[in-house]
Symmetry: C2
């Protein structure tokens, strides 16, 4: 039974009931005693400000060193909530399954997803399952949407960086992108780099409790730190100058980037954020981050300055300054 | 520019910025003055019970008589909220675009989606855009998730039907499924049937205000009325007996079903719901529905009885009774 493939007939009626009852619902630990599936979940007791976010995950391949599409789908949405200072409360899970995906694989992806939600204290409260014809998908796409509770009204926005502020990254960069490229086995390189894919909700709240005056918090996913820092610079109308020597990069990532001609700043992360904090709070921020396992290698990597022509510059180790562009989008498709 | 195709490079970095700024955001009427795109939307002022739902739409083809994937994606989620007595408040829009989809087509689908949201008073507050390689999608998949406000705590559930209750359908059945099959142009039949695809939020609230004691409200999408009524019968542990002569079916739908060997009860709708109400409230419910344009052809189609062996039976026009099964799932894939 475990090795049965999903077929088009599992997309509605009796076939869908079977897929839900034998695979989807048990893997997500949703039980019959929880009552019948309704058209929408009812959430009570939520007050104050809520955060709401959505992400579809189309990562290729579905498994990589350090995670799989299920873990990624949970962490991605948990992290988007956390970046706005919200505690993950409820997640939706919507599956687009390509005919041929094995029941056993679907179970294992959904188990990964559920485990991350459990750890983050987010309940999976609603979902949807569609099946598309062979050749009209790529195994599995997962959408997760999330609702988070904002108990303290932090004033976070990509537009809040100010000249003088410090830029911190929560750990070494580029591991997720390199792990995905290695898993594709198409680029003539192998690598032991493990994706940084992780839920950042507790690390983010640790920082925000210690430094409530944090200005910007963004996870550096597609396009890596280069994309997110360019976005912050543009939204805040400032220039950010990075110190290349200060940017944490694991040797395996550095070697793979050298080989592939990539800049680690442009490589995706799925468990790293950048924070912009007032200069006076930088020490406190780093101290708080370093006390948490996921932030132990966090580092102060740059400074916010008055806007110049370009938004993101880097002071290189040989003394020059160069522009770090928003990645073109060509290099690393389907990284998440 | 309008006829430029989406390419893989539009999936991140500069390419994604271009796709968002030139196509996605303007089509959804999201403007730069609304501030930078953050990782999550912040929603304030929501109190009491909230409804939360998600749906991914993989309809094939993307356009059909009476709608397109954009309209469907908005209506589907609006309706799921409405079926729990919620007023649509905020929607997320997450796109999985196959390389090659034209900018102009994407714009037109997003315009359809936005228009339905505007009419329903639901704000599009967050989103995501992914691009997958040619051959790894089917033009466009759209996920929408929605948050709705429940101002009156109606006690709706698929498990609440009781013997003696009446079953009402809000209009003629099967139009959406037949419109999709006709649009596929593969089945050797043409049809002028128009999909019933519509937002049911106002019709549902009209009913609930008139008949707050309504027991069950479900839109009859995948698997049609047969699927949803079987689910209600099982969840409530009752048997529902339909009166075939009372079921509204347009002549074009009846003819197509005859030709294709389909039972209209098993054909999907995207703008029809079934309601189960106490017998004493049936007249009031029908009166309220019939005063609304979307409910003018609503009809009382059956009765809830003590559970027998099978959950759904139909009294045929020639006097017999037969079982109406949950559809197998084989007949009508990718209808929504």
């Amino acid at each position: 039974m475990n090795d049965e493939p999903v077929r088009l007939l599992h997309g509605s009626g009796q076939g869908l009931q079977l897929l839900l009852n034998q695979v989807v619902l048990p893997s997500l630990h949703i039980h019959e005693k929880d009552g019948p599936l309704e058209d929408a979940a009812l959430l009570t007791g939520l007050t104050g400000t809520l955060a709401f976010t959505t992400d579809s995950f189309v990562v290729n391949p579905l498994r990589f060193n350090g995670g799989d599409i299920g873990k990624l789908a949970a962490c991605g949405t948990i992290n988007d909530l956390a970046m706005m200072g919200a505690k993950p409360h409820a997640l939706s899970v919507s599956l687009i399954i390509e005919e041929g995906l094995l029941f056993s694989d679907l179970k294992s992806f959904l188990n990964s997803l559920r485990q991350e939600c459990e750890t983050a204290g987010a309940a999976i409260v609603c979902g949807d399952t569609k099946v598309v014809d062979a050749g009209k998908g790529d195994g599995l796409y997962i959408n997760t949407s999330g609702i988070g509770r904002v108990s303290t009204p932090y004033n976070l926005s990509a537009a809040h960086a100010r000249p003088g502020d410090c830029v911190i990254v929560s750990g070494p960069i580029g591991q997720h992108g390199i792990a995905i490229l290695a898993a594709r086995q198409q680029l003539g390189f192998s690598s032991t780099v493990v994706s940084d894919c992780a839920a950042l909700d507790k690390l983010a709240l640790t920082l925000l409790e210690a430094v409530p005056e944090t200005r910007v918090l963004r996870d550096a996913t597609r396009g890596g730190c280069a994309a997110v820092l360019n976005e912050i610079a543009d939204a805040s109308n400032v220039t950010i100058t990075l110190d290349q020597a200060a940017i944490p990069v694991q040797p395996g990532v550095a070697a793979a980037c050298d080989y592939l001609g990539l800049d680690p700043l442009q490589v995706a992360n799925e468990g790293r954020f950048v924070a912009v904090v007032p200069e006076a709070s930088a020490g406190k921020a780093l101290g708080a981050l370093k006390r948490h396992p996921l932030g132990k290698d966090s580092a102060l990597i740059g400074q916010v300055e008055l806007r110049e022509r370009f938004g993101l510059l880097i002071q290189t180790e040989i003394g020059g300054k160069r522009i770090v562009e928003m990645p073109s989008g060509l290099l690393l498709p389907r990284i998440c």
